[in-house]
Symmetry: C2
Subunit: 416 residues, 2 copies
Amino acid sequence: MTVDRAVSIKRTEIAALDAADPLRTSAEAFHLPEGMIYLDGNSLGAMPLAVVERMQEVITNEWGKQLIHSWNDNNWFALSQIIGDKLAQLIGAGPGEVIVSDCVSVNLFKLVVAALKMRKGRCKIVTERGNFPTDVYVLQGIVRMFDGQIDLQMLERPELMQAIDDETAVVVLTHVHYKTSEILDMEAFTRHAHKQGALILWDLCHTAGIMPVELDALDVDMAVGCGYKYLNGGPGAPAFLYIARRLQSGLHQPLSGWWGHADPFAFSDDFRPAADIKRAQSGTQSVLGLSALDVGIDTALSVDMTQVREKSIKLGRLFIDLLAQSCPDLRLASPLDDQRRGGHVSIRHGQGYAITGALNEQGVVVDFRAPDIIRFGFAPLYTSYMDIWHTVEILERILRTKAWDREAFRQQATVT
Amino acid sequence: MTVDRAVSIKRTEIAALDAADPLRTSAEAFHLPEGMIYLDGNSLGAMPLAVVERMQEVITNEWGKQLIHSWNDNNWFALSQIIGDKLAQLIGAGPGEVIVSDCVSVNLFKLVVAALKMRKGRCKIVTERGNFPTDVYVLQGIVRMFDGQIDLQMLERPELMQAIDDETAVVVLTHVHYKTSEILDMEAFTRHAHKQGALILWDLCHTAGIMPVELDALDVDMAVGCGYKYLNGGPGAPAFLYIARRLQSGLHQPLSGWWGHADPFAFSDDFRPAADIKRAQSGTQSVLGLSALDVGIDTALSVDMTQVREKSIKLGRLFIDLLAQSCPDLRLASPLDDQRRGGHVSIRHGQGYAITGALNEQGVVVDFRAPDIIRFGFAPLYTSYMDIWHTVEILERILRTKAWDREAFRQQATVT
């Protein structure tokens, strides 16, 4: 691994970075287990402490005591929109453009089928080979459902742009790659898709809550994303979807359950879609799941997303520099260029699975993505520069001693 | 309102009924607010007390401390199946035939689209006019999605049976009607659908947790239902779906997200459905929602569903008898025949909305379904016979004094 800058970093400098960090107090809002360096917030975000009290209130008071009255009295009916409007502020969307509901797979299905209807006569969907599997699987499900009338093209990154042509109905791309952390150019792809008359849908799973994006300013059509990574909404938190306001009245998604009706409590026999983003809803959502996510999003709103991105870049760069200094033979899977890298940094190693295990044994929680990727997720709200220092120290020792081979290592080494 | 039996019931008899109730202690498992008679468990079930501790554990320990490790260490990956297997015991299904996931609308969509593929060449869906709206809306969404290639026939109850013919792909019926509580004959419709070569899907929203059904024994093909009514799973609890084992390997549902993949963590580019019920899953589910539902289902499993049904019938019959005694002019919307009536009893009244409000003011929580239905939901696990007595007493006074017109009534009357 080579980096384009001289690296000679000392531990004292790391302490100074933490002291000067404008986000240094934000970790206090989270529970972070003693003796653990948690670098998996890109998979499951840490628990905001305020969740405990909020859930206690929702469970014992709103559900336990107020029961059915809470649908009105505690705004359960509007939760998906209220939280959506908050989340909108993190991704450059306006009020009424985001709703929180269902899981990413279901939301993607809704929007892609709706997009195909809006671009009738075009039958091509373009996506990236190696995109997050559920995105690809959902698209394959749509192709099967329409008995092959739809042409799904999965292309390698360099071929993507030219594949978007005037037969393309919708382009489905992920902004930050789940394995490599490489960022796709949202502006360029959106502009090109529109030039070709196609709609574009962005998956923001590894984007929302760790970097600002400007969906409205870039004229994005649709987006989806999940609530349990950098939004810290809890395990399996509800997902979100975005529909540009200009498209909403013409968008008809197929999962037209009663929550998408203009007047659900009229109990009429005919579906009439809500005039606004509510038409993207299907059925009743987990109030418990929504409430925890609400706390996570409040926590993200309490900081400046520009500062979050700045710290995210610095954490990633420090990790890469320290690796270059301590483990120069490691292969980096993520871009060196700060502007092209998202919130996590990945390395490739033939023993990736075993090394991931050894890191976890040493209290450094990271994850493995087959066949050879180890992901180090840095969550600027609770990851410190010193966490990075310790991580590289431990990783270096594991690699040097080939610790994943030796049971004895588990007993000897400790997190320093 | 006329009943076919002489009614002259005294309060002392009611106390005796409660004393002899084999389920008399099961209410202790729930939080029931002081001064409230909660008759809306058919909409949102009461909170099992054990939920508080379980959720505390899931939030602070499983999420807060064990974080990502909980996917394996606390069985988060298998929750939908574990809970599904428990729920299966309540509805006459076998292990591996039920999974808990998503909302009813989404599950219905999955199964109906899959059923249409399994009955290729047939284009007719039969359902009941006045079925729960989301069921109808989802079917209408499917018709629109397939550009009118599907013929949705919504019929009044008496015409339903003959509409199921050899052009019918799938029949979608609700077992217990959400307004009238009238039971459809599951055995007769299932047999007739099969005779015609059609598949049948039952909506068990008002069935699961309050009466036993025998899905396997009756050869039912598919079913859906919700977790937040008589299963006491909490607001917006995850829903469930059932697929008869004999159909699973040939069933391809369109929402094929990564959780439905045979090996999700292989991260392959091609969808390959899980061999079993897991193929009915789409994406990541709310662990908080699932965990609360798990407690609700455990509570239901701690009692005998035959006893629950027996008490349910007796509660309904007592209510009807007391109404006949005290409010003989009221119009009953539910069947008098115990065997044809589900867990709630509904009455019709032109002032239904206002009377519902007056009952709620008096601490009797019931709900209104437009245009003129008041639903009284009796949950045998926590509704007592004395609750019924008080309810009729209060309702009689409201009707006699036309209390919904008079603000003054609110101050004077109290729950006795």
